[in-house]
Symmetry: D2
Subunit: 452 residues, 4 copies
């Protein structure tokens, strides 16, 4: 009488490389990547996944692997999964509701990493302040994570998949490539100076280098064609993808638009925990993991529930319901940023600048408690902190806030009236894995000493 | 033995105009506005305040008052309050910790308003979509608000002051005026096209028009000089000010930098409730109200706890602790936006564009449940929804999300598999107060029919 | 257009005695106490109330007022209120839904008290351990309470009315008087030894002494008759009454059975805060206060929603919905008790014995942190602690638990591995108001030194 | 560099019987049951366990297995585990802090059961109302459970071990056997009538029948001696044991007194979910499962933190800290009971009677929504409902409450003003597995038709 236990539809063997898995992985979005499995609606099934780098980052004390990571190969995704109900496969125009029944690290692989990428190789939100490749390793004790590299903090994970999305149609793929190509081509002119200084890649256009297309044989004619069209998995887009919504944990439901028959959804980039914004870029506690999922097809749901926000009916975004289980924190310390940059220059209602300043404020503040600024940058990338757009209308300043649960620290981090002058109270600064920066872009001034 | 009850240091008489109050109000930031009262640390005291417009918006069925509001007169603030402890007044370089012990509407004035400003008179986050002056009135039933103009929703307020800040020093004032003047002068060139179309004021520089400086007599020589220097209260800045942090409710603590002797802090712009972003600009449920506060001085706290993020030691931001009491919602529906605008154009990691799209997505979705889009725009401005920066590093797309607690609606707003085709289910569209837009800027295209 | 502000239907003048109020109070339940006001369904109205003793307990440093309080006069209730809708008054068999829109202390009277009653005058849950009249005064700072008598704790109140109930019918009154009379008469034999030792009154039968019946003139013939029938307000019963449900705060809804035309509901005994069980009897933070309420009549609701649990259709209990706003605590320390009493004797699945032991365990534990046991007894009566029936089936032991939010203390109260031996760390034992016990019942042995 | 993954110290093979497991189980408490493994403090380790009946209850549609279960064999526990730190094994007088890092069902065995025991074989809290053996099967979808036998409800589990405890010393064992023997012998006289009618076993004294003592060979001389002394695992006691505290989930910490060298703690009786009280006796969702634990020894902690509440230093109880992760419910419907029993008889401040009535009230209420009363009885045993002691001092009525989160139902269960007369709205009454009651004790009157 019992329903069978969750059916394992995508197994991962961690002793094998990403490209050696029984069911081949992929690291691009393309409508023609063949599904590796079919699931029925209502059935609970299990998908396993490698970490986003496919095992390239090691549990050791060197950040070289971070510095020299080949970003053309990420993210390794499991799937695509074709979804059917009694009326056949999901069809373009439907909505695919995916419920996350359970998820977690892969048994036997209970650890993760958070990293700052080198400014010349990916960078991060604060790459102009922190240009060096840096790494922190996290170990899990059940729901808790702790790091030998960031001592004195421990927190329960709100685990979630960074990436979940459906396959785009050729038409949608074309829209992506055109609009991102346009940015790559003309973007520099249109950027503000501060953004140029960032020097991070504007977009990541299709490239055959590093391209993995599941069952499509590498080097084949078909592969060649598809690799030149297939979208990179870095940004979130209309199909979901790299949304990095930290609350998509157990019990959440994701309503994805369907663009190809079968929906062909994929998932990957599991995060043990992440802060809003995932600021250091490789910023969550990245790990391998598993998902137990259940699907439902809402026939005709795109038209019914989504409104295109652009020139074609494809300009839509998924909808999410977040689940009822999350760590309960009662006290939060909140840092604010306004849209004035570090040089003192005024920006117009720019929430990105405001959030950058909120994060910088938080980093400086917490560094007074014995941490190096890079440790805090890593911590705020992966701990359960909340990044809010508090005010977006009061010209010229957007106000963004970053709220940090105080309970994750083993010391009281609130301002105190009768404190003695603060120098770092407890030095929390062990030998954090870090490479030098060999580039020649200037580090942002008034924080130039931050990393040291 | 009992401590005296909260001492009323700023009374408001609602039958009088803002400029007729016993303790004069002010609507600018300037170091030389004289304090109206002195409080001791540790003492609980009460400040009353008018609504931000000083009673200009009426509880009626016309939006004319919104359309023609004289924005040069806002925000009416109560204060400044000078703070002393046993060692004398707060000094520049100290931190002023202000705890919000209690707050609420003024007894007998239990109502509020939310408005969209006309595109030619202030506008709002979505002014290119919703250019018409519009208004919704809210009535309070204890902790709950409901509106005859947006039927079918009711929610508990997370009441907070939109503005709380210390007086700037002359040096800080000069920084503000220079950087905002620079934006006003050169901003247009540096803006992106989409921002230009917004056509909202870039900044609001000092002006004698409408200027109210507390005890400084209007028209006097001193007033003339100060009015030409005094900063407008529209944006949040280094001194706090218009932060619009919706969680600053009962039990919160605000650590404000002190720039002048006595700290001279002011507060105003009480919100019965607000959504993150306060998107329609006059977007909270705006009301008159009272605060019960308690202060503490952290001597030397600026140096100890704040790190300047700019060329001078004055480039700091306040820190906040949020209180332990807030409405407890278990289910949230989350809308996502990416940094691609409504024309389909790609922006580079722009959280403002992403949030705009998330809000537009939510408006369109909820308008399927019997509401006009303008009703939803007003609702999302003032209900307890959360605006998050979910991903800010995955070039080229920033991902922003807007989470709405489902319990505020009297219908189930979640997507359903077996729904009948949706037309507006229940028409929730009463005679909402609204003016026509007489300007000539084009309304953003693919949402042009939104208001109807 | 505005709805009128909450209509004040029961004003209280704190300068007057309970029996001098404009609208007379009452301290008994009787169907014939005339209503003092009529309200319509849907209308928000305000009721004010004295504290349950009507001002007999003073804000001073003596517990004499507690020791000698005349318990025949409590609780002073405001009302009865007659409720009507468009179909006329509520009728027997209806349900009256009362929503608590708002509530709080009376302005200008922001303080409260918690007391242990003398064993010969009311006693409390632990009267065999703590026989002395004792008192703690609490002051309010907005949502927070603190006590000079129990230093080092501060917590937000979950304010609620201890008593809310409808008037009983004569038939129901008769049932009450018979069953409680039966207990008074035959109870002692049926009690267990441990209960006898308690020596608290078994029941409080009707008495003319101290009786106050609203508009019924004291000493009149009618008064005489009614006073001899009218039920005391001490226990909760079928009509609601003294439920002491600590979560009935803002936003709660109470579904009361209607036994007489008009429902005639009354309320009183406001608590700023209370722990589950209200263990010291005068155990909440008792205060005067106000309620803003809104009523609805569910016609025929008793039959529809309530099932009699006894020989007549009147043996029902109210139903409650608790509101969405309460303090958010993340960490709780939990004490357990089993149904073995302090003498080591086994009781059979007795949740009262188990809870007593859980409370005693908590008192002893917390007294290691610098408090006297009486201070902790008072604290656990009024702080927001949760008393749970964890296991009620595992013969012979019931398991009850008492969960205490750790954040209310200014020290870390959790067990620690590397603590030095504990003596009272900080002496938290000021001159707490306390009388001697002049009775001759023995104090329970192995805790005999507890109070000192 | 990585810490080894959680070390599996007690494996379970579900294909084998409880007495065939590699590391033998036990179902009694006795100081001389040899430890099956040793763990070091600080090390995360994994213990697996069978369900409390060791697989005797099947996933099928018959309740015969429940009716005829041999209760002499329960509960099957895993352990004992000996705990050591660098100073050697835990010693009597220490506290053992056990942190629950993670827990869940055993992979491949994702289902559980809830049962009512026959009145002649164990019974339950309401055995006089529901004397028939009945069973509901639950299936898990990740964090959620649903039952084909109780359709229309689904809830996230707050999974916890029902039993966790240390080995008693011989002295403590003797105390247990004497006090429970005394109850068994003299209890009937001292019971109240209503309790006698319950006719459940008063206590369960040691018996060789069904006794399993781990590595001690059954039938050996040693076994014989120990079996005659060893305490049954049914009740919670000084060593922890069957506490059934539903919130002891991920992140909780349990401070257990140590009575024998090594602490020798055992655990079992995993619950996917349980309501406070576990009212139907086999009332949680019972399942097999695993725990990931971490231990710490607090040397001398018993004296430091626990106060004996009885004639010897052994009369103590464990302390608990509950974890930060639990399902977040915003709306609760609360049922109240007072200490008047179903015959209308008044009891004196009896929380057990009050809670019984609260549960009966809830059962009757929910049975109006299409369920049979037995279905609701099962549901309230296992869903995340909270049982509170609200008032324990207002003679003669104790007030107990049962709060039910409304979100677990697929219909709105709140009272409504404009409902049509209620008959069962949706019949939720499938073929629930149920046996007849063959005993001859009368079923409690005014609910006699309840089960049908």
């Amino acid at each position: 009488m019992a329903p069978s236990k969750p059916k394992l539809v995508v197994p991962i063997d961690l002793k094998k490389k990403p490209w050696e898995q029984k069911l081949p992985l992929h690291n691009r979005w393309h409508p023609e990547i063949p599904p590796v499995a079919t699931v029925k609606t209502g059935q609970v099934f299990r998908m396993e996944m490698v970490d986003w780098t496919g095992g390239a980052i090691k549990d050791d004390n060197s950040a070289s692997d971070v510095k020299y990571l080949d970003l053309s190969t990420v993210h390794y995704l499991s799937g695509p999964i074709r979804v059917v109900d009694e009326d056949g496969p999901a069809k373009p125009g439907d909505l695919l509701a995916v419920e996350i029944c359970n998820l977690g690290p892969l048994p036997g692989d209970e650890w993760g990493f958070t990293a700052i990428f080198d400014r010349e190789n990916g960078g991060g939100f604060l790459t102009d302040h922190f240009p060096c490749a840096t790494k922190a390793i996290w170990y899990f004790e059940g729901i808790y994570a702790y790091s030998p590299h960031i001592p004195g903090v421990r927190f329960p994970g709100l685990t979630h998949p960074g990436i979940i999305g459906t396959a785009p149609s050729m038409e949608l793929l074309k829209i992506w490539n055109e609009r991102e190509g346009e940015l790559e081509e003309n973007g520099l002119k249109s950027l503000k100076l501060c953004e140029v200084l960032h020097s991070r890649p504007l977009a990541n256009l299709p490239s055959t280098k590093g391209c993995l297309l599941g069952k499509i044989e590498e080097g084949s004619r078909e592969w060649e064609k598809m690799a030149n069209e297939a979208a990179r998995t870095i940004p979130g887009r209309e199909n979901g993808g790299n949304c990095d919504i930290k609350n998509l944990s157990r019990g959440s439901k994701i309503y994805l638009p369907v663009f190809v028959e079968g929906a062909n959804f994929s998932t990957g980039d599991m995060h043990f925990s992440q802060g809003d914004g995932e600021v250091s870029f490789c910023g969550a506690i990245e790990m391998s993991g598993f998902l137990e999922l259940k699907c439902e097809i809402i026939r005709g749901g795109m038209k019914e529930y989504l409104t295109p926000m652009g020139p074609t009916p494809l300009h839509v975004n998924p909808i999410f319901e977040i689940g009822p289980v999350e760590p309960r924190f009662s006290e939060w310390l909140v840092f604010e940023g306004i849209s004035v940059d570090e040089s003192g220059r005024q920006h117009y209602l720019d929430a990105s600048v405001a959030y950058k300043r909120a994060v910088l404020n938080a980093i400086d503040y917490l560094s007074k408690f014995g941490y190096s600024k890079e440790q805090v940058y890593l911590l705020l990338s992966c701990c359960p902190c909340e990044g809010r757009i508090s005010g977006i209308v009061d010209a010229p300043n957007a106000v963004a806030t970053l709220a940090i649960p105080t309970a994750i620290f083993d010391q009281d981090i609130r301002p105190k009236a009768n404190n003695l002058p603060i120098g770092p109270r407890v030095v929390r600064n062990p030998d954090i894995p870090r490479c030098t920066y060999d580039g020649n872009l200037p580090i942002t001034k008034n924080l130039s000493a931050t990393g040291s």
